[in-house]
C-alpha cells in the first residue's frame, strides 16, 4: 500500500517544483524582514502562543538567516576559491578513510558474529553495551589515546559507521532462509562453500543497506568532528580544514551566507556519496533489481 | 472421449462443448431459491499496459452466474481469472464490456471501475485478516465500520456465526496464533457477517494441505447451506471445483475466456463420499482434458503467477 499509484510523473515533478519554489520565496521574504518571528510582524502569533503557555523565545528568528539570493551570490564568489575545493577534498578523504576502515573491520566482524555462536555470545552483548555511547562522546578519549589528531578523528568516524554496518550484517546473515543452507548441504557443500556461496551473497543486500546508512553517519561525524576540533571548544588543534571547519569558520567570521553555502555543499557531498554507494550496491546485487 | 496425445497442438483445437445435465438426472438447485446475487459478465475485456507492451488478460469473456449458485472458475495460474474477480469486486477497471449484479450495472464503458462495497466481499488467497485485531474483532469489523450494528450486537452475532462455523474457542486469539485452516474460516465468517450478495473467493485454499482442504470444503458447504449466498470461487484444482460447484467454467490461458462450462448434476447436500462416486469421476474425465490443454499452454509460455 503506498501513494505511488498511477498518475502522470510530470505532474508529480511539477508539484515538487512548486512547493520548493514556495518555500524559497517564503525564506527570501522572511530573511529580508529582519524580525520575522521575533518582532512586530508576528505579534499576534506570539501573543497566542504566549497565552497558550509556550515560551516564545523558543521560536526561531528566521529573519536573522541569510536570504537565498545572498547565498547564491556568495556561492558564485566562492566557486573560484581554491580553499573551498580543498575543504571538499579534505572532508571527502576523511569520510572515505573512516568509512573504508569501518567496512573492512565491520563486515568480517559481523560475519564472524553471525556464523560463530560462541563469538556472538562473547562479543555481541559487549557491542550492544558500547553502542549507545554516541561516537562523538569518544572524541576526548580518542584524542588522549591516539598519537595524532587526524587519527583520533578517524577513529571516531570509524566508530560511527562500524556499529551500523555490524548490526546490518548480523541481521542480514541471520535472516537468510535456513532452506538455502539445507539445499546447499544436500548438494554436498563444505563449510567454506556454504560461507562463500550462501552466507556472503545472502548478506550482501544488508551489507549494502548498512553501508548506505553508515555513509550518512560518517558524514555527520566528520562534520561534527571538524567543527569541534576546528573551533567552538577547547578541543582545538592545528589540523583542521574540511567542510565542517569551513562552516564554523564562516560563522565565526560573520559571513552567514557562507554558512548556508557550506551546509548545502555538505548536503550535496553526502547525497552524492550515498548515491554512488547505492549504485555500487545495485551492481553487486543484480538479482534484487530484477523483481 | 478419446485420449488426447501428450503434445501441444497449435492447429485445429477440438471444439469444446459445454457439458450439460446428463439425461435422467436433475440439475442441482439450492433449496430455498435465493433471489439476489446474480452476476452477469458480458464481453469483458481487460488490457494491462505493461512494461513490455500491452497485455490482454481478459478478452471477450461472458459468464452468467445465477443467484445463490456456487460458480467455480478453473484455470492455470496467471490466466487472468483473478483479474475477473478483481473487476467484479471493483479493484480494477475494465477496458470493455459490462458487468451487472442483479440487473444493476456495476461497471461498463461509462464507468469502468465498479464501486467497492460489502455486497461483494472478497476472501483473499493469502488471507487478509488484520493481524493487529483478534479473530473476533476481525469478524465484527464490517458491520461496526458501516454502523449497521452496535458493537455489542455485532459481538453477539459474531459469536453465533463463529460457533456455527465450528470456531468457538478462537475468538480472542490473534490470527497469527491459529492455523491457516482456522484463519480461512474466520475470514469467511467475517465476510458473511455483512450479509453480502456475493462471496468472492480467490483461491482461498491454495496454501492448505490436501487433508485440511477436504475438511475445509465440507465446512464451506455447511456454511453455504445455511446462508445461500452466491459464491464465485476461483481455483486451479479441478476436483475442488467439481466437488463444490453447481457450475464449473474452464478458462483459457491469457486471454481469459470460458473454454467450456460444466454443469455438475450431483445433488446437494454433498459430502466427501462424492469424491469417489462414479458420476464425479465421469464429470472429471469430461473436463480434465480441457483443463490439461490449458495447463500445458500456460506451462509452455512460462507465465508468472498472477
Amino acid at each position: 500500500m503506498n501513494a505511488t499509484a498511477k498518475g502522470a510523473p510530470a505532474l508529480s515533478f511539477a508539484r515538487g517544483v512548486v512547493s520548493i519554489a514556495v518555500v524559497l520565496l517564503l525564506w527570501e521574504l522572511g530573511a529580508r524582514s529582519k524580525h520575522w518571528m521575533a518582532g512586530d510582524l508576528s505579534a499576534p502569533l506570539r501573543a497566542t502562543l504566549g497565552a497558550l503557555g509556550f515560551k516564545t523565545s523558543y521560536l526561531p528568528c528566521v529573519g536573522a538567516a541569510p536570504p537565498p539570493t545572498g547565498v547564491l551570490r556568495s556561492w558564485a564568489a566562492i566557486l573560484t576559491d581554491v580553499g573551498y575545493w580543498q575543504s571538499w577534498a579534505k572532508s571527502f578523504l576523511r569520510v572515505s578513510g573512516g568509512f573504508t576502515a569501518a567496512m573492512v573491520v565491520g563486515i568480517p566482524f559481523g560475519l564472524l558474529l553471525a556464523v560463530n555462536r560462541t563469538a556472538f555470545g562473547v562479543a555481541f552483548p559487549l557491542f550492544e553495551v558500547l553502542r549507545p555511547i554516541p561516537p562523538l562522546a569518544w572524541v576526548p578519549a580518542s584524542i588522549i589515546f591516539w598519537p595524532t589528531q587526524e587519527l583520533s578523528i578517524s577513529f571516531v568516524t570509524f566508530l560511527g559507521a562500524f556499529y551500523t554496518i555490524v548490526i546490518n550484517v548480523v541481521g542480514g546473515a541471520k535472516a537468510i532462509d535456513v532452506r538455502y543452507f539445507q539445499a546447499a548441504r544436500s548438494m554436498g557443500s563444505s563449510r567454506w562453500d556454504l560461507f562463500r556461496r550462501i552466507i556472503l551473497p545472502g548478506t550482501l543486500p544488508s551489507i549494502v543497506v548498512g553501508a548506505v546508512v553508515g555513509m550518512g553517519i560518517t558524514w555527520e561525524v566528520v562534520v561534527a568532528a571538524e567543527m569541534i576540533s576546528g573551533g567552538g571548544s577547547q578541543i582545538g588543534g592545528t589540523s583542521g580544514g574540511g567542510l565542517g571547519f569551513f562552516i564554523w569558520n564562516s560563522y565565526v567570521g560573520g559571513s552567514y551566507e557562507q554558512i548556508v553555502v557550506g551546509m548545502i555543499s555538505i548536503g550535496i557531498a553526502g547525497f552524492v556519496s550515498s548515491e554512488l554507494l547505492r549504485l555500487l550496491g545495485r551492481r553487486v546485487t543484480p538479482w534484487l533489481s530484477q523483481r | 472421449m478419446t485420449a488426447a496425445p501428450f503434445v501441444h497442438r497449435e492447429t485445429a483445437a477440438p471444439a469444446w462443448r459445454d457439458v450439460p445435465v446428463a439425461p435422467g438426472r436433475t440439475a442441482p438447485v439450492a433449496e430455498a431459491t435465493p433471489t439476489r446475487g446474480a452476476i452477469r459478465i458480458e464481453n469483458v475485456v481487460k488490457v494491462y499496459g505493461g512494461r513490455s507492451g500491452a497485455v490482454t488478460a481478459v478478452d471477450g469473456c461472458s459468464l452468467d452466474i445465477a443467484a445463490g449458485e456456487i460458480f467455480m472458475v478453473v484455470g492455470p495460474s496467471g490466466c487472468g481469472k483473478t483479474t475477473l474477480l478483481n473487476a467484479v469486486a471493483g479493484f480494477h477497471d475494465i477496458s470493455g464490456g459490462r458487468i451487472s449484479l442483479d440487473g444493476q450495472v456495476l461497471c461498463d464503458s461509462a464507468r469502468p471501475q465498479a464501486p467497492r462495497g460489502s455486497d461483494r466481499v472478497v476472501v483473499f488467497q493469502n488471507g487478509a485478516l488484520f493481524p493487529w485485531r483478534t479473530n473476533l474483532e476481525n469478524v465484527i469489523f464490517g458491520p461496526v465500520m458501516q454502523r449497521k450494528l452496535s458493537k455489542r450486537d455485532a459481538i453477539d452475532k459474531a459469536m453465533d456465526m463463529m460457533a456455527d462455523a465450528g470456531l468457538s474457542g478462537v475468538e480472542h486469539s490473534y490470527p497469527a496464533e491459529v492455523s491457516s485452516g482456522v484463519r480461512r474460516r474466520v475470514e469467511i465468517v467475517r465476510a458473511l457477517m455483512n450479509d453480502p450478495k456475493v462471496l468472492l473467493l480467490d483461491e482461498p485454499y491454495r496454501a492448505l494441505d490436501a487433508l485440511t482442504k477436504s475438511v475445509m470444503h465440507e465446512a464451506l458447504l455447511r456454511i453455504y447451506y445455511k446462508n445461500k449466498v452466491t459464491i464465485f470461487f476461483i481455483t486451479h484444482d479441478l476436483e475442488e471445483a467439481i466437488f463444490l460447484g453447481h457450475k464449473v467454467a474452464v478458462m483459457t490461458t491469457r486471454p481469459c475466456r470460458p473454454k467450456m462450462i460444466l454443469t455438475v448434476d450431483i445433488p446437494h447436500p454433498r459430502d466427501y463420499s462424492v469424491l469417489t462416486s462414479k458420476r464425479f469421476r465421469e464429470l472429471a474425465r469430461a473436463t480434465s482434458a480441457a483443463v490439461h490443454e490449458e495447463a500445458l499452454k500456460a506451462f509452455q509460455s512460462g507465465e508468472r503467477e498472477g
Binding site: S19, P132, I133, P134 | -
Partner: protein
C-alpha cells in the same frame, strides 16, 4: 482437525504474560549465554585494567585506569567533582534527558503524522517529499551555526538540533511503515465497507505501528547523538558539556564516567520506547514469539 480446537503452536501450552517472561528468563540462565556475555565483558574490562595499570603500555599512558574510574565514580568525595554521590551528576543527566525528551516528543508529534501522510496521500507526497529529501542529506550538525544564529536562546538551538535528526528518522520510518502495508489489507477493509478515513485509522495506523516504533527507537538514538554533539559545541550543563569540559580541565576519569553514563541513559531511553511499543502491539509480540524470536 476437529471443530473448535485451538491448535497448539510450538509446545502445546499457552504461556501468557508473566509466565512467559519467567520461562524465557530461566531458559536464558540455563543456557550458556550469560557466561559468554560475562566472558566478553571480562575480557574488555580486564584488558583495559591490564593495559593501563599493570602493563602500563605506552599508548595508554594518559588513559585513566579502570580502578581509578570506578573509585572516582563511587566515591563520596570525588577528586574531580562528579560521582554517583554528587548532585551535579544528576543535574547534568537530568538536563540532557530533559532536552532529549523535548526533542523526541516534538519529533514524534510532527514526524509521525507527516510520515503517515507522505505514505498515504500521493498528492501530499508530491508536494512535500522533494523538500524533505533535499533537507535530509544535510548533516544535522552542519546546522549548528545556523541554529545558533536563528535561535535566540541557545537552549532551543540545542533542542532544535536533536529534534531535527529525530524528526527525519521518525518521518521516514512512518512513511516506510505505510508503504509496507500489504495492499490486500486495504482492499479487504474497503470490501467490508470502510470509508477512506476509517481505512486510515483502522488499517494504516495499526499496520504501520511496528515500523513507526522501530523508527522511534532509532530516533531516540539519533537524538542522543545530535544532542551530545550540540552540547559539546555550544551548551552549558548536560553530559556532552561534561565530557567536553572534563577534557579541557584535564579531569580524565570524569570523561569516562560521562561516557558510561551516556551509554546507560541512552540504552534505558531506547528500552523504554521498545517497552511502550511492545505494550501497544501485543499482537506483534506474540507473533514474533511464535516464530521463535523476541
Amino acid at each position: 482437525m476437529s471443530a473448535g480446537q485451538t491448535p497448539a503452536a510450538g509446545g502445546g501450552r499457552h504461556r501468557r504474560g508473566a509466565a512467559l517472561t519467567l520461562h524465557r528468563a530461566s531458559a536464558w540462565f540455563r543456557s550458556s549465554r550469560p557466561y559468554l556475555m560475562l566472558t566478553g565483558f571480562g575480557l574488555f574490562l580486564g584488558g583495559w585494567y591490564l593495559a593501563v595499570e599493570v602493563w602500563k603500555l605506552p599508548r595508554f599512558a594518559e588513559m585513566p585506569g579502570l580502578t581509578v574510574v570506578v573509585k572516582e565514580w563511587l566515591s563520596k568525595d570525588p577528586t574531580y567533582g562528579l560521582s554517583l554521590y554528587t548532585p551535579e551528576y544528576y543535574q547534568h543527566i537530568g538536563r540532557s534527558v530533559w532536552r532529549v525528551a523535548q526533542a523526541f516528543t516534538l519529533a514524534t508529534v510532527f514526524g509521525v503524522p507527516l510520515g503517515l501522510l507522505l505514505g498515504w496521500s500521493k498528492r501530499f507526497r508530491d508536494y512535500v517529499f522533494p523538500l524533505f529529501e533535499l533537507l535530509r542529506p544535510i548533516p544535522v550538525l552542519a546546522w549548528v551555526p545556523l541554529a545558533i544564529v536563528m535561535f535566540v536562546a541557545s537552549e532551543s538551538a540545542v533542542i532544535y538540533l536533536a529534534f531535527l535528526a529525530s524528526f527525519f528518522a521518525t518521518a521516514l520510518n512512518a512513511m516506510l511503515g505505510v508503504e509496507s502495508i500489504d495492499a490486500h489489507y486495504v482492499r479487504a477493509a474497503e470490501c467490508l465497507g470502510a470509508s477512506r478515513a476509517q481505512v486510515f485509522r483502522h488499517v494504516i495506523l495499526p499496520g504501520a505501528l511496528p515500523f513507526i516504533f522501530t523508527g522511534l527507537q532509532i530516533s531516540v538514538g539519533v537524538a542522543w547523538f545530535s544532542l551530545v554533539a550540540a552540547e559539546m559545541v555550544s551548551g552549558q550543563y548536560g553530559l556532552g558539556y561534561v565530557i567536553n569540559t572534563s577534557y579541557s580541565t584535564v579531569r580524565y576519569p570524569t570523561i569516562i564516567i560521562g561516557m558510561i553514563t551516556l551509554g546507560v541513559v541512552g540504552y534505558v531511553t531506547s528500552a523504554m520506547v521498545r517497552v511502550v511499543g511492545d505494550l501497544l502491539m501485543q499482537w506483534r509480540v506474540r507473533e514474533l514469539a511464535l516464530r521463535g524470536q523476541s
